[in-house]
């Protein structure tokens, strides 16, 4: 069973998850070679035919053919959070503690071992977005959950342990410091300026223009003016929407094409770098909250956070967002 302890200096919660020491790794070489991977791998727990290696199947989106499937949701075998944990807050000296109550699941994005998002047909990417949505809404029914995180770790330096295309979902019984800060700042901005901070960022980026990468009916992808790492990308819904649960069917389709474009351009221009993709939403926001606005962040892993960054919480970025955007559009 995992346990949460809060660092009283930073307000950051730490999850102690001893199970995670036993995770498998299938990176043999230091380089990822998606091209050299087979379509099916008999030792991969996410490939069809290897269901005995899965603890359970929570959700399955069938393929049109009625035989096969498009996506699956399974429990994370090395879970940091479990819904079998009792929720009970307590204190220990100056520290707050709570058991690791919650959910930790894997979203298997495709039955095909070596087909990553840029190479998938658009309707298969749409099935991933639909699976995110479905499981997100289901977990929201559990009132003990405060925040739900959906994320995708791509490549070894981004923390992936298995190469088969997958995302993860973690639902936490506390509001983590990172979300608390975003909420607080967005609400202060709204009180002061009477505008949504996120809508203002989007307006600023569109009027500048030189950091906009893609735009479709519902979404804009750009390198933010204060990107923390080279080639960091934000995908904002154009419509003001506080929480991911409010996404419409049209938006779902356009998010799928946007994800395919954004991850495709990273592969094409930067040679498939490792990255983390995060759905940043506000799980318990009111439907009509005017200050919060869900979005997606993509962070390529090309730099290392060293002592200064860890100690100060500042980031050092060796390249300017305007130049990074030009490279993604035109090539180096």
């Amino acid at each position: 069973m995992s346990e949460l302890r809060q660092n009283p200096l930073s307000g950051q919660w730490v999850v102690y998850a001893p199970l995670r020491k036993k995770r498998p790794y299938d990176f043999h070489a230091s380089e990822r070679e998606t091209a050299g991977l087979p379509e099916r791998d008999t030792s991969c727990p996410f490939c069809p035919g290897n269901e005995r290696m899965l603890p359970d199947i929570i959700l399955e989106k069938p393929d049109g053919d009625g035989v096969s499937w498009m996506t699956r949701v399974v429990p994370n075998k090395y879970a940091a959070f479990e819904s079998s944990c009792l929720e009970m807050n307590s204190e220990n000296g100056p520290y707050a503690i709570t058991p690791g109550y919650g959910y930790h699941e894997v979203i298997i994005e495709s039955p095909i071992h070596n087909e990553d998002i840029p190479r998938m047909a658009p309707e298969r990417v749409a099935a991933i977005v639909e699976t995110y949505y479905k499981r997100y809404v289901e977990i929201l029914a559990d009132r003990k959950i405060m925040e739900v995180f959906i994320f995708r770790n791509h490549g070894k330096s981004a923390g992936t342990s298995l190469v088969h295309p997958h995302s993860q979902l973690i639902a936490t019984p506390v509001v983590p410091a990172g979300i608390e800060t975003k909420k607080k700042r967005a609400r202060e901005y709204f009180r002061e300026c009477k505008h949504c901070l996120f809508c203002d960022i989007l307006r600023f980026e569109r009027s500048s223009g030189n950091r906009i990468l893609f735009e479709n009916g519902s979404f804009v992808a750009f390198i933010p003016y204060a990107a923390e790492v080279p080639f960091e990308l934000w995908i904002f819904p154009k419509a003001h929407q506080s929480d991911f649960r409010l996404i419409s069917d049209t938006q779902k389709g356009e998010l799928a094409t946007m994800l395919k474009s954004v991850l495709g351009v990273l592969t094409q221009r930067l040679g498939d770098p490792d990255y983390n993709l995060l759905l940043s939403t506000f799980t318990r926001a009111d439907r009509d909250d005017r200050s919060l606005h869900w979005h997606i962040v993509v962070r390529p892993r090309t730099t290392i956070k060293a002592g200064f960054e860890i100690g100060s919480g500042m980031a050092i970025n060796p390249s300017f967002p305007e130049e990074d955007c030009r490279i993604l559009k035109e090539g180096p």
Copy 2:
């Protein structure tokens, strides 16, 4: 010239430092082999005899012999901050910006290329602490500086680009979000409990006992109850002291022996892991501030922050601090 832009969502400042793209790297293999390094390396800018490779020498602590030196302070050739930048705050849409005014220096810890802190004579480690102190106090005289960070990156995954033993100093014209949060939380705790949060943490750790690694007259080294990463170590001065500038001569000597012990046990028990060491202090704290308390944090780099950690600001630690402390004391 570098430029600072603030992320309005996180409050985090980002330093754009294009110079840093040109940093040298002398890690040829993926493994560090201190044992195999020479005492002097003709291509190392920090070795005696190679002064032509240094931009300048800001400070030098002579050795007793009058010929050689113990430590040197030099400008970081790939500086993220420079005191030649004009300081001038402005705004750009919803973003705050400011030039990268400040200091970025390297503290060369020894003339000997391959002698790291655990192998140094105690008086040589004391010379490093004295150099930290001297340069820290000198830079405090610049009233445009808000915070000074002293840190040590050890090993490639911790962000070092050169193996010759060295620390760095960065002085910033803003209070970074990480320090702002610590200050705020410590002050709230003091208002509520009428005690220093740091003194209470120390009291809690000493009464628990099973996470204390070393103690001497002035300092206690322990794995904190809510350590974010395996084998994270905190070194707290026993006396309540808000800012590093208040350190006494006795404390300086005892900090040197403590550093030697702490870094020595990491080498001995964990085989010289990569780590970041950070002096966490409160540069503009009043001499008699009762809520702030400087300290040192050592973070071995054995885990990767992936999507969930980046998005939530939570940490997942696969091992409990009590067990990590036992391993450092008794071996695995």
